[in-house]
């Protein structure tokens, strides 16, 4: 995307630049009126976009087929509107029906979908011994196998972690901490990449680097 030339687009670009500085005035300076202004502005536009986008979705999936003769589509429309009964205390129980469908579908799909990838494939991958004889491969294999067993034992929270369970659960906790540390390292990459994008935008609007 090149630096815009149309006046309104250039104005918009600079407004976006100032809005960015308003938001960053909070960490870089302190909480202030410009930050709050930008924050409330964001909530307002997001609300509008949420409503319009989901409205167009509902039109596409429900209203248009209904108008074309699929009368069954009146059912999800009514059920969806029943969700708003949550706002009226004496009729709040009506909102349980659409929630029941969402919860039921979610659980049903979740249960049937999770067995193979998250249980079967994960366990098979763990217990599959390495082909070839490299020492490091066998070390890694034992590390993952022992680590997985001990870490799962750590989550057996219905048993007290004492006696025979004390050592393996303690080892499991250490394996979990290593996993969380690596997760932290990846999280840092994500967060700093987003900040990098903003730093780049800061310089691009000032034309210090090409857009």
């Amino acid at each position: 995307m090149a630096y815009p030339t149309a006046t309104l687009d250039v104005i918009g670009l600079w407004i976006g630049w100032f809005l960015m500085l308003m938001i960053y005035s909070y960490p870089l300076y302190k909480e202030n009126i410009t930050y709050r202004f930008a924050e409330y502005l964001f909530i307002g536009v997001t609300l509008a976009i949420t409503i319009i986008t989901n409205f167009s979705n509902v039109m596409r999936m429900c209203i248009t087929p209904l108008m074309q003769g699929n009368l069954l589509m009146i059912v999800p429309l009514i059920l969806g509107l029943m969700i708003f009964a949550m706002l009226i205390p004496e009729y709040r129980w009506l909102s349980r029906y659409p929630i029941a469908i969402l919860v039921g579908a979610g659980f049903g799909l979740g249960i049937r979908g999770t067995i193979k990838p998250n249980l079967q494939d994960a366990i098979i991958s763990t217990i599959t011994a390495p082909t070839g004889g490299a020492l490091l491969d066998w070390f890694n294999y034992l590390y993952v196998a022992v680590g997985l067993i001990c870490s799962i034992m750590y989550f057996m929270l219905t048993f007290e972690h004492s006696g025979a369970l004390k050592t393996p659960t303690r080892i499991g906790r250490l394996f979990i901490m290593v996993g969380l540390g690596a997760y932290f390292g990846n999280t840092v990459l994500f967060r700093f990449t987003m900040l990098t994008g903003r730093a780049q935008f800061f310089l691009q609007v000032l034309k210090l680097i090409p857009m």
Binding site: R60, L109, G113, P117, V188, F190, F192, T196, A199
Partner: protein, 276 residues
């Protein structure tokens, strides 16, 4: 100033140091070399050569918004280019409100490749969907029930490339680029049930959950955030935004590691000073 007293520095000083440090490498690039990780190599191999037949239909899922462009978009750009150059047809869809902006940006970053393609015959933008695992499951059963029209209100049946595309069996592969876990939903509802080829090119934070899935064979490849994007740019031979950002990433990460080390030395110094 003792290391212990460093702990009491106003945090805003760190924020300014970080913000300035992020900008310097853009003004004065360094160019550290980047090596390719096996997960990224597998991802690239999975969308090139014999792995992609001409005319087969792939889905590219924009599971990210504008805030994650710097993390996800470079990977999606390279993968889109690779699929187009193998002759694949692509269905673009997404789960964020701003996917139209993402789609427009993709057309900008893949300008030369889109120029050779015809909308409706080689690619289509179906638009926004939401609904978690339910919508992915329903997409697998009947794509038209989720998208009776594309984003531009063209009826599904009027789009040439979609005439023989009904459900998951007509899709050769899925590339999901997520800030959430729609890749996981595709895994449980598509890959596990039907064996659909699936890859993830999402944010770095998801790398920790996605790499075990790649090792277990659920994903044929994983790109981990902007680092994965930079590796993919090297593999396709067209450096872009991710490679440009890597210097800035390097500086910020180095600063963070130094900060952690200094903080721990400070604590250790205080402890030892206290014990004496």
């Amino acid at each position: 100033m003792s290391l212990g007293k460093l702990a009491n520095i106003d945090r805003r000083v760190f924020y300014w140091i970080l913000f300035i440090a992020l900008m310097v490498p853009f003004l004065s690039p360094i160019g550290f070399p980047i090596t390719i990780s096996p997960n990224t190599q597998d991802l690239y191999d999975g969308v090139t050569g014999d792995q992609v037949a001409e005319g087969e239909v792939w889905i590219v899922n924009f599971g990210y918004g504008v805030s994650a462009w710097s993390d996800c978009h470079p990977s999606v750009t390279v993968l889109t280019k690779a699929l187009f150059r193998e002759g694949a047809k692509i269905i673009f869809m997404g789960v964020h409100y701003d996917i139209e902006l993402t789609y427009n940006k993709l057309q900008d970053t893949c300008r030369a490749d889109f120029a050779n393609k015809v909308y409706g015959e080689d690619y289509v933008f179906l638009g926004y969907m939401t609904g978690g695992e339910s919508v992915i499951a329903q997409l697998g059963s009947n794509i038209k029930s989720v998208f009776p029209q594309d984003h531009f209100q063209t009826p599904y049946d009027d789009i040439p490339m979609l005439r023989n595309v009904v459900d998951v069996h007509d899709i050769a592969g899925v590339i999901s680029s997520d800030t959430g876990d729609y890749g996981g939903h595709f895994m449980t509802q598509w890959q596990a049930a039907y064996g659909t080829k699936l890859a993830e090119a999402g944010i770095a934070m998801n790398g920790s959950t996605d790499l075990p899935r790649w090792q277990a064979g659920n994903f044929f490849g994983v790109s981990v955030g902007s680092r994965g994007g930079a590796e993919l740019e090297i593999l396709i031979g067209e450096l872009g935004e991710a490679t440009t950002a890597m210097d800035s990433i390097s500086v910020s990460h180095l600063l963070l590691v130094i900060a952690i080390i200094l903080g721990n030395i400070g604590t250790l110094t205080e402890k030892l000073g206290g014990k004496k």
